[in-house]
Amino acid sequence: MSGSRRPVILTFFAACAYGFLYLPIVVLIVYSFNRDGVGGFPPRHLTLDWYRVLFADGSMWTAVGNSVIVAAASVVISILIGFPAAYALDRYSFPGKDAFRRLILLPLIVPGVITGISLLLLVVSGGFRLSLITVVLGHATALTAVATTEIFAGLSRLDRSYEEASADLGASGWQTLRRILLPLMRTSLLGTALLVFTLSMDEIAVTFFLIGRENTLPLEIWSRLRRGATPEMNAISTLIFFFSVAAILASQRLIAGGETSLTPSAEVAGVTQ
């Protein structure tokens, strides 16, 4: 190979790959501003009308509210379980630790369909009604594994001598947790929360089985698409896209401690969707 010129075929291949990945999103965004909706190429008459329709759409915003509630609850539950689990995995050795790790992380690789069906069976056989609460349980089950992985990564990067210094200076375990560990883990926990929140916001597979009468945002969109795609869907999808990208970027920043790098969490995001 001569000089710095890349072979043409490689460039072409790369362009195709990126086109395959991003062209649909570009089309989605562009047509959300097109007056004539989804039909018609090239797009003409740019307009914000579809966003106006969207903002006036009450049931859509109810769905957004439901999704936020579910996501917030999932964040709380997954971190409340994930932090102690990650702490135990990072700082202690105990019999059965390997099995414990596998069990905690298993939901990462279990398909959402399986998680959804099994939880549905449990809920129905237990005589409970499907509601947002069952959706939260489903999301928390899947996302606790994500939270554990992220917090574990943060903990293992944290110099252990801070905690030793704290104990050395007379602080009990709780005092060390509250005054040293949690403040030092703050960015890692915030990043994890953002990631879990985003993943929960656009979860469909698990939600589908566990949803009651109240829809989350992705299911609301899905049910409306069955009645035909409207540019309003493009508008809400565009908003979701930018929100997700911003949240994921922010969480990656926080988790990586200021460095922009593709950490395993990006792969995790791929697995659970």
């Binding site: 110099d159 001598s161 801070y162 030793e164 210094a165 704290s166 104990a167 050395d168 200076l169 007379g170 602080a171 009990s172 005092q175 005054r179 040293i180 403040p183 030092l184």
Partner: protein, 365 residues
């Protein structure tokens, strides 16, 4: 632990003689079959400055961490003022540590770092303020109270770490290679300061280092650790002048190891013969380079003389390390301050008492 066993433990410590301030009794630590520490016993007086010296893997840091409570011991006991120390969790032990990395809390400023130990013990705000001020004044860091650790230099962090430990008035201060991250000049300055601080406060210091010159400069007593055992312990001058093993002789500075055979109270080392007080048979000796001088300028009493050729010299500023060839097989290193020319043959001398007999090598495998 109940009061009954408490007094029992105390009694057993007392019965071994006068109460020792810090007593380390047959302490061992092993990970599986690997012995990191092997039956270490050590008695330390109140107000003593003791250095644990050793290379990495000698167990010195492990011993310090066992005393601090970060590691559990596999065998033995530790008493502080007659009470069992090793049964207490780290936060109940009246000993504090200065960490190698300083471990200053990054999310707290200098004042809050130093105040931390007092706060978690529920000391009142007024008292905290005056004690923190006093501690920071002692290490000349009062002006940096509002600074965060990332905004102060390594030497300053070192001082804050000291103040953070000392403000709690520990009975023993444990220092884990606290000077190793500093550059050479700052190191010497901090050694002086640490020593002065320790003498001023009268607190027992247990200092860990791998640097023999630091250990010799700073300590009342040096404990040389090697492969989890105490190789030798003693005052710096004594341990330097009278190493007991070849390992000790070499670790505590440069030394010539000379083999010889003793007959009728005379050690025949081929290059020279010296009167010794040893049983008949083969022997090995340590001879410090600075003990050797040209015969013309040697001090009185330098009664062992030999001739040798100067074959190499290395100038070190304060002196010159000279390689002396006595014969084909025998070369000695001498530290000589006078100018000396290469290739010349000359007569050299040392005092018979500087020829230190060493124990047979037990560690060689």
């Amino acid at each position: 632990m109940t009061a009954g066993t408490d007094s029992l433990e105390k009694a057993s410590a007392d019965s071994s003689g006068a109460e020792v301030f810090l007593q380390i009794e047959n302490v061992g630590k092993s990970f599986g079959a690997h012995h990191v520490l092997d039956s270490i016993s050590l008695s330390i007086e109140q107000g003593e400055f003791v250095t644990l010296l050793g290379e990495s893997g000698s167990g010195k840091t492990t011993l310090l961490r066992i005393i601090a409570g970060f590691e559990t011991l596999s065998a033995g006991r530790i008493f502080l003022e007659g009470n069992r120390l090793d049964l207490l969790p780290p936060y109940r032990r009246p000993v504090h540590t200065v960490f190698q990395s300083y471990a200053l809390f990054p999310h707290m400023n200098v004042f809050d770092n130093v105040a931390y130990g007092l706060r978690v013990r529920g000391v009142g705000a007024g008292e905290i303020k005056s004690r923190v001020h006093a501690a920071l004044a002692r290490v000349r860091m009062e002006a940096f109270m509002a600074h965060y650790p990332r905004h102060i230099s390594g030497g300053q962090k070192q001082r804050v770490a000291l103040a953070r430990a000392l403000v709690n008035e520990p009975k023993v201060l444990l220092l884990d290679e606290p000077l190793s991250a500093l550059d050479a000049n700052l190191r010497l300055e901090m050694q002086r300061e640490l020593k002065a601080l320790q003498q001023d406060l009268g607190i027992t210091f247990l200092f860990v280092t791998h640097d023999q010159s630091e250990a010799l400069a700073i300590s009342d007593r040096v404990v040389l650790l090697h492969q989890g055992r105490i190789e030798q312990s003693g005052e710096p001058r004594e341990i330097y002048a009278r190493p007991r093993t070849s390992y000790a002789a070499n670790f505590l500075g440069k030394s010539n190891l000379v083999r010889g055979v003793v007959r009728n109270g005379i050690a025949d080392c081929r290059a020279f013969s010296a009167p010794v007080n040893l049983p008949e048979g083969p022997a090995i000796f340590s001879l410090r380079p600075e003990a050797i001088a040209p015969a013309s300028s040697a001090s009185s009493g330098s009664d062992v003389r030999f001739t040798a050729q100067v074959v190499a010299e290395q100038f070190h500023g304060a002196g010159t390390l000279v390689t002396l060839r006595c014969s084909e097989e025998i070369e000695l290193t001498a530290r000589i301050n006078a100018a000396i020319s290469n290739e010349t043959w000359g007569e050299f001398a040392f005092r018979a008492e500087d020829l230190v007999p060493l124990a047979p090598e037990v560690h060689e495998s």
